[in-house]
Symmetry: C2
Subunit: 348 residues, 2 copies
């Protein structure tokens, strides 16, 4: 008999729906490889209502309903549920995938949602950077206390196993420095400027046109998204206790085409470099700023939406991980990987 | 009370001794981070005898004895042991670090040693490619049957978490293709040829002079080492069943400086590229051969002793890992990581 794991979706946007697709596609593999029978029992959306069925929800039907602009109410079993708060308080899932949008100010309301779920003894796998950047210590301590998992592989470099490498690939190591390029939008813009001679504004409009940049590009362009990810790595892998506002942060809004060209003339390229480093006094400091890097080196070779992280440790001198071609489906995969690792007890 | 884990060293060359140094340095960290009290109870060397003490062996004294050209006999407790076979049959360790030299023909005698240890219910962590390339399926099945671990992170890209990423970072994924540069010696030689205009012979002598190449460079230069590592990745991550002789293999012995220069003129560099790919018929095929790669791409940027692996999967499109500055101490770290992961039950 396989282990039964009931799961629910809190948030059902691009990532949540990509995860639902992936989960349906991988049900047989999960059973074959991990003896794991995953049963969806709930979906809570922003604009399409919510549905819970402890006996098993038809996830394909939920996808169809949402994609065709309908409502999930018809799939709900039992007494009607009110708002998200009811869903969080009563949803009969062993694990909840939380994928609501990131709030870069304070991580709310997801921070409270995740706290409430963990407090109920529900595992949480999230792609939402907010609760992790603002509540990692608290939420991971709570998860430990309740014996459940709080995993969030997809918050940095999508589904690339950056945090898994920290847990499984660097045991007993001390991370001295983490460097990287964590924001795809700004890297795409810089690449278009250097490759195609676009101005910042032209490259930004191009990024918006193909859906890489948001209509309000502030979070990416001013380095907030990169700062939040840097905080997550600093706090999780280096035992830091930073918040996004603690990061020395400079975005790429003021990078002119002339800056890109003068760097090129000097054999360099500009990258929005993120860094967390343990200072002499033991404290962890973090920064995000446009930095000139030598052409021919690995960082300059990171173009378009590719991202990279580089670890310096006391045991492996330098270890680098690159992720290529990110998308909702790679973010979704990080959540699936978290689920498998929690289900086999690796959160303990 | 921390968990007590007794360990023994089978092989005490550069890697075994670097591991002993690292273990002594990390004893407190292992206790603090993993509640693990590691107790060395045995060391078997090639030319300096062996010593077993079930109550705990003085590892620093063993290092001193071997480094000063002495013998371990004085550290032995109890009735004298004969040869390695006795050590394997009776050593009272929960886990053995096997680091004897790789035999590229058939993996022996390490294959038999590891089999005997696993059969006794002893965990094995090895840096030796032979037993893995020739006996992975058999030994991992035996380990499962006996409820022990058989881990070998250090066999490919030293201590970089390549196999850990397969286990923890890519659950339920299907690896379609693995590509990489796995042999440091040949990459160093190619880099010296392209950077400094050396001939193959000059670059090889240079590599030998600084200890990167063996006196008999056949294993590296003719692609055997790379082929063995490719087999390990193909069999472990892609469920292949290859042996080193199954790899289409071409080394770099016939690469002339003129070849390097003509590649450069075409905007390319030559790399000894390793590949394992799932063919249309489902079979896994592997090759090692000098390949021209575009300058400016990631592969051409892999110079000197750096190594790289690139995974194509059905979930993450492409994931790349690079390791820089390898040495006996990074190989040793892979063994330490294996030990931690086995001790916390992640072999199950």
């Amino acid at each position: 008999m396989p282990d039964r794991l009931t799961v629910a979706f809190l948030g059902f946007g691009n990532v949540g729906r990509a995860l639902a697709d992936l989960l349906l596609r991988k049900l047989d593999t999960l059973r074959a490889d991990y003896d794991l029978a995953v049963v969806p029992v709930g979906v809570a959306t922003g604009g399409h209502g919510l549905a819970v069925d402890p006996a098993g929800l038809d996830l394909a039907a939920a996808l169809d309903a949402v994609r065709s602009g309908g409502d999930l109410a018809a799939l709900h079993a039992g007494t009607p549920l009110g708002a998200t708060a009811d869903f969080i308080a009563t949803c009969p899932a062993d694990l909840v995938f939380e994928t609501i949008p990131t709030n870069p100010q304070d991580g709310e309301p997801a921070l409270s949602y995740d706290r409430a779920l963990l407090d109920r003894g529900v595992h949480v796998a999230t792609a939402n950077k907010g609760p992790v950047a603002f509540g990692y210590r608290e939420l991971s301590a709570l998860a430990r206390e309740r014996g459940v998992g709080f995993f969030f592989e997809s918050t940095v470099m999508d589904g690339a196993p950056v945090l898994a490498v920290g847990r499984e690939g660097l045991p007993a190591a001390r991370v001295r420095r983490v460097t990287g390029i964590f924001n795809s939008t700004t890297n795409y813009i810089l690449t278009r400027m250097e490759r195609d001679g676009m101005t910042f504004d032209e490259a930004l409009r191009e990024a918006q046109a193909i859906g890489i940049a948001e209509t309000d590009p502030t979070l990416d362009v001013d380095g907030w998204d990169a700062a939040i990810k840097t905080v997550i790595l600093a706090n999780v892998l280096m035992d830091g206790d930073l918040r996004p506002a603690d990061v020395e942060r400079e975005g790429i809004r003021d990078i002119a085409l002339a800056d890109v060209e003068s760097a090129e003339a000097a054999g360099e390229r500009i990258r929005l470099l993120c860094e967390a480093v343990r200072a002499e006094d033991g404290a962890v400091r973090a920064s995000v700023r446009p930095t000139r890097v030598p052409i021919g080196g690995v960082l300059a070779g990171v173009t378009g939406t590719t991202s990279i992280v580089d670890f310096e440790t006391d045991t492996l001198h330098r270890l680098t991980i690159l992720e290529h071609d990110p998308g909702p489906e790679t973010t979704a995969y990080g959540l699936l990987a978290d689920m498998v690792n929690i289900a086999r007890g690796r959160h303990r």
